[in-house]
């Protein structure tokens, strides 16, 4: 029981971090049709900026400022880079963000060096939030969940309940009409891109402190973000939310399970031992392949339901 509850909490909190990371990507994709390969790089910048600011002004002010800095950076990238490339089509945009990811990574290395930086948890978030039986649940993880949920709520409210949200939605589906009505559509796109990268920056502030802030952190989280976006359905914020939780929980519980294909065969009476052909495959335990499961999910999803869990695009 203790194990189940703690694993569930671990899974949900990891899933929520994934959601923070991928929501920006989904937002940008659904609104602008741009698949932003540099998204994880903005996540990394968020972590580094928060670390640098945190040294001067403390963790909590940095929690608000760092995403802003990253957002402004993202808006500048959109205004002076992406907008120019936009007219050459989606492939050009894709290549642009792809190159940008490398550029950011190298810049980070030049500025902050190759080694990990000592980005520490503020004291107030250190220690256990509560202790369940004998396992403690860290405050930081609780905080991570809280921030993710607040973020989901505010993004959702902004998009559906505010005027700017309406303009954004209008500009996405009917850009010409929105422009004809006097709205500055390019500026809306710039805001969306800036907002999306700011969300990645926010995830970076939390993720950097929860894990390790070092130059390969973008590369190591980059692929999983796309898995979330695809599984959830390209462009669906709620889909991304569900997919993040699904992946977080599946991955966490898979680690706990020591089943193997060979073990299953043994149940139905087929004995698998070292003489069996492909023994190394049969003896693989679920726990061993757990970190690869999200990618399996990605492939299966693309085969059986290409539009994702809650995707709306049929093509």
């Amino acid at each position: 029981m203790e194990f189940f509850v703690i694993s569930l909490l671990n899974g949900v909190s990891y899933g929520l971090l994934l959601f923070m990371l991928s929501s920006g990507l989904t937002l940008i994709f659904s609104m602008m049709g741009v698949l932003n390969f540099a998204h994880a790089a903005f996540y990394m910048v968020g972590a580094y900026v928060a670390y640098a600011l945190g040294l001067k002004i403390g963790f909590f002010p940095a929690l608000f400022l760092a995403p802003l800095v990253v957002g402004v950076l993202g808006a500048l990238v959109e205004r002076y880079g992406l907008r120019t490339v936009h007219r050459y089509g989606h492939v050009a945009e894709l290549l642009f963000t792809f190159g940008l990811a490398y550029l950011i990574e190298e810049l980070v290395k030049v500025v902050w060096g190759l080694a990990a930086v000592p980005y520490r948890v503020p004291e107030i978030l250190e220690g256990p939030l509560f202790t369940l039986y004998s396992t403690s649940f860290p405050k930081l993880r609780g905080f991570m969940m809280l921030v993710a949920l607040l973020m989901l709520l505010s993004v959702f409210l902004m998009l559906t309940r505010t005027r700017i949200g309406l303009v954004i939605q209008a500009a996405l589906t009917h850009p010409e009409t929105a422009q004809a009505l006097g709205h500055n559509v390019p500026r809306v796109f710039m805001l969306v891109f800036g907002g999306g990268t700011a969300l990645a920056g926010l995830a970076g502030v939390i993720g950097g402190v929860a894990f390790i802030t070092e130059p390969s952190m973008a590369a190591s989280l980059g692929p999983i973000v796309f898995v979330v976006a695809v599984v959830g359905g390209m462009g669906s914020l709620v889909g991304a939310f569900l997919a993040s939780l699904l992946i977080g929980i599946v991955q966490t519980f898979a680690i706990a399970v020591d089943w193997s294909l060979g073990g299953m065969l043994a149940v139905i009476g087929i004995v698998v031992n070292e003489q069996t052909p492909l023994y190394s495959l049969w003896k693989l335990q679920l726990s061993q392949v757990a970190p690869v499961l999200p990618y399996l999910l990605l492939v299966l999803m693309l085969i059986f339901r290409p539009k994702g869990l809650l995707g709306t695009r049929a093509d």
Binding site: F3, A116, T135, I212, A219, S220, L221, A256, V292
Partner: protein, 412 residues
């Protein structure tokens, strides 16, 4: 005009003389290891360690003439990339290579060097392996041109289990390792040796996880907890270790961690206070040793690069080469390789012998614990954390030594 002509003649004369005596030249050594990516920081640290020791050797003229120059090549931790680099190294006429990160890379390089040397007599390459610890490299897959400066995984486990055998509080052990040749070797040796030395100790769980893929170790930590383990043995390195220890600290796991690589770049920062009295490493040297041998070197390194010197095998390696150059009065890899067999040098951890039968360096093994610096037994911290390694025990070479199944084929 006349003067210039004379100067040219003099220069010509000097250069022909120098070319004639191959001995008094600069010996280039190719460093083939990751300088970018996940293990980039570790590789950078080690490249600088080699260069730092080479500089010292040059200043003090260890080799009695020849100078060392270390040239860095980034292999991105890929065996394929390393073989391409080996070709470049051959083309540039470099005759010595050093490599350490990743036994997969080491196995590929050892094989390629052996083939190259068999096919190109007169252009032989000597391969010093300073950190790849898969036991196979000095057993079933041993090769004459490969010399291992580090202690191999089985020797480390022998020392570690000897130490653990005395600790009666160890009852339930969990093995968590990376799923590739090295991680599997650690798990196998741990099970085998513990069964021999402490049959009462239970292995309550064992996990292999993909190398450098896991971001969140919390699920593993809750699994360790659920299994009721009091001790974790892990060969993890890099972020796989740093994140594991971080997750253990968050979940309030009180187990002891016995590691191979907790002293490498990045891990001390991740551990901080959380690892105090809980994390151990087994290796060949600790700066906080009884007489602080090598502390001056480590401090010099810290001052120069603002980083920690921990790859002591670089010292052993340069010392071996220097002695071989001096003894043979040559830098010819064929003569040097022959001289290295059975050679003994004084390193920072005492006497090191390059065993003739398998080219595995025999040396003492240190087990150290992560504690607050106290100015007496623990003077030096790591990564400016205020914590450092306290030497728990130094196990002499003869205890840690392992038999070998190597059947060395010698040229000629």
């Amino acid at each position: 005009m006349f003067n210039l002509k004379r100067a040219r003649w003099a220069l010509f004369l000097v250069s022909t003389l120098l070319a004639g005596s191959a001995y008094a030249q600069t010996v280039k050594i190719a460093f083939i290891d990751p300088l970018s990516g996940l293990l980039g920081p570790v590789g950078q640290n080690q490249l600088r360690s080699w260069q730092y020791i080479a500089d010292i050797a040059n200043q003090k003229n260890w080799a009695g003439g020849p100078k060392f120059e270390i040239v860095g090549f980034d292999n991105k931790l890929s065996p394929q990339e390393s073989l391409t680099i080996l070709k470049q190294v051959e083309d540039q006429g470099i005759r010595y290579i050093v490599q350490g990160n990743g036994s997969s890379v080491a196995l590929a390089l050892a094989d390629a060097v052996a083939k190259h040397n068999a096919r190109n007599p007169g252009k032989e390459i000597v391969y010093l392996n300073y950190a790849a610890v898969d036991p196979d490299l000095t057993n079933s897959k041993c090769d004459y041109w490969h010399f291992r400066l580090d202690i191999n995984s089985d020797m480390k486990m022998e020392a570690l289990t000897t130490y653990l055998a005395k600790d009666k509080s160890v009852k339930n052990v969990y093995l968590l390792n990376q799923n590739y040749s090295f991680g599997q070797a650690v798990a196998r040796a741990a099970k085998e040796y513990l069964a021999r030395k402490r049959p009462d100790v239970k292995i309550v769980g064992e996990d292999l996880h993909p190398l450098a893929q896991v971001k969140d170790f919390a699920p593993y930590v809750s699994k360790i907890k659920a299994a009721g383990a009091d001790t974790v043995i892990t060969g993890n390195w890099g972020n796989d270790l740093a994140l594991l220890i971080k997750a253990a600290k968050d979940a309030g796991l009180n187990d002891k961690f016995y590691t191979y690589y907790a002293a490498t770049t990045g891990v001390p920062t991740a551990m901080g206070a959380a690892g105090e009295n809980k994390v151990y490493y087994v290796g060949y040297w600790n700066v906080n040793n009884e007489k602080f041998v090598g502390a001056d070197l480590a401090m010099g390194y810290l001052k120069k690069f603002d980083d920690d010197y921990y790859t002591m095998a670089t010292y052993t390696g340069v010392a071996f080469l220097a002695k071989a150059f001096k003894e043979t009065k040559s830098t010819d890899p064929v003569k040097v390789a022959k001289a290295l067999e059975g050679m003994k040098v004084q390193s920072l951890n005492g006497e090191v012998e390059m065993r003739k039968s398998d080219h595995q360096a025999q040396q003492s093994v240190t087990i150290a614990k992560w504690v607050k610096i106290n100015g007496k037994t623990v003077k030096y911290d790591q990564e400016k954390t205020g914590y450092g390694w306290e030497t728990e025990v130094v196990i002499p070479a003869y205890v840690a030594t392992q038999p070998t199944s190597c059947q060395m084929k010698r040229p000629g």
